[in-house]
Symmetry: C2
Subunit: 317 residues, 2 copies
């Protein structure tokens, strides 16, 4: 239980998966199927050209967290790629709730996907393709295993690869172009760690393999202004920090400045606020979870009960 | 028929697709299925992280062209990404021949794919995933429609996007990271053309959306040495040019030098040697197919009958 903020939830009746949906449920071609049966065509350019965007929203203790913000970002990503979503925001919200209910999940990792689709024979003009919407809900995913919530993340600054620059791929449009992040992941594992952080060509910190990063430097929280996803968890943490009187700033973040962090942490929907307790094999501070990180982690989970952020799932009778 | 080199083939008995395989055949999870039924899991990281490599080999007049070279490059790409192919080269060659035979194709576009596979629950270490092999054979794909073989390609130098740099993604490992190329494709269509060519951050020419490019400058054929796929069609054309006494060189190719080309052309398995007759709306040379391009196109198709390059498909009785 990362951060312990989860202990305050009201006791609710247990929910059950529909038979066959115990591992999760997916929305494919207009139908709900078990996650194990959820597939896309091998010739959908969402696969064969990675011409696709996606978003991930969490369900915690029976409620979506910032659902509207996630769907708004998803719609914005689709517009940037000139993908036409076949569903309105309200329709998508209903589909996602249906998936969570079908899978019987109080805590869930819920993904929306829009692909360019399949080219018609001999036609390469992507403007003519029929775009496709997919979604699925599976049990909540912890990017940092729950058992390691106090141990924290063992991070490395990747040396063998740079983050894909914004002049080539827009990182604010959530995408599956992870070859650089995957190279970083391999480097991290090869160096005995698990969490890579990538630099850009100028030596500034960008992000990790699925997470934004923060450094607490001289009492200010710093996180990269560009070259990275505009994370909704990142946004939440910045809002919570400001409320606590801790300045939080989007900056160009040179590696050397990042290394000065008295505390370092990462943020993602798949786990919230995750302490980085070692960097390149050296402890960060005294190698334990710092007080600012701990406080923000608590506040982050408490925010899940805030009615401004929570959209309860109707699990039916 | 691009280039007319195809008229020299011997007359052979017609082949027929197995019922249901008229649009193509795919190898998925160890079985041969119609291309329309070929899918991958929505949670295969080959899709969800574009953690995948592929290759494309052509079948022309009943024979694979440079099959061993394509399979060698595919194996090399897998090694670079630390993907473990579940099949030997001989097994893959047999699978591909089986697909072409099942689809009843004399002329075919044949793709091999290896994905990282599905992560086990809660395990992010990609070194532990079971990698997956897929393949399919469909009717031959012409990147430049056959009807336009003499009209040629209308190309543009992309202004809105740069090619993903080699420091982030290795372009010699054939990959689906096409967001930059797709942005270029949209730009080309928006500018009334069809074929983008992308520059790198230094203003050097790299490649297009699925093709290498060449410029004939002062009697020498120039093509980019880096930042681009090491195309097998490109290699073939360089070998054929040398045989004709035309020097062919891998160079850093600034945009200005490329623009000096008396002839420009592109190369790809999906079409061979394709003349570029206009660039940014202006004619290249006199706007018709140049003599060197024409000669190389003829030689390219003639090479398909060369027993050093051709691997005949056994279509059975």
């Amino acid at each position: 239980m990362s951060g312990g903020g989860m202990s305050g939830g009201a006791v609710r009746a247990p929910v059950r998966a529909r038979t066959g949906f115990e591992d999760g449920a997916a929305f494919v071609d207009g139908r709900i199927v078990p996650i194990g049966a959820a597939t896309i065509s091998i010739v959908d350019t969402g696969f064969s050209r990675s011409d696709v965007t996606y978003d991930v929203v969490g369900v915690w203790q029976g409620a979506f967290f910032r659902l509207d913000d996630h769907l708004e970002r998803f719609e914005s990503s689709c517009r940037s790629l000139r993908l036409r979503l076949p569903h309105t925001r309200e329709e998508m919200a209903a589909i996602l709730a249906d998936l969570v209910r079908t899978a019987g999940l109080r805590d869930s990792y819920v993904e929306t996907i829009c692909t360019r689709g399949v080219s018609r024979k001999g036609v390469r003009d992507p403007r003519t393709f029929e775009n496709r919407f997919y979604a699925y809900a599976v049990p909540f995913v912890w990017l940092l295993p729950e058992a390691d919530a106090e141990t924290g993340m063992d991070a490395v600054i990747a040396r063998t690869v740079q983050r894909i620059p914004t002049t080539s791929v827009d990182p604010t449009v959530k995408n599956f172009h992870w070859a650089d992040l995957t190279r970083g992941l391999y480097e991290a594992y090869d160096r005995g760690a698990r969490y890579p952080i990538l630099l850009d060509a100028d030596g500034n910190v960008t992000e990790g393999a699925g997470y934004n990063v923060f450094a607490l430097v001289d009492g200010r929280l710093l996180t990269p202004a560009s070259g990275t996803l505009e994370g909704i968890t990142r946004r939440t943490v910045m809002e919570l920090a400001e409320r606590e009187g801790i300045p939080a700033e989007l900056v160009a973040l040179p590696e050397a400045t990042f290394r000065q962090g008295a505390e370092l942490f990462a943020t993602t929907t798949a786990g919230g606020v995750m302490p980085i307790t070692s960097l390149d094999g050296e402890p960060v501070g005294d190698g334990t979870v710092g007080p600012v990180t701990r406080r923000l982690r608590e506040l982050y989970w408490e925010a899940h009960a805030d009615p401004r952020y929570a959209t309860p799932v109707d699990y039916g009778a």
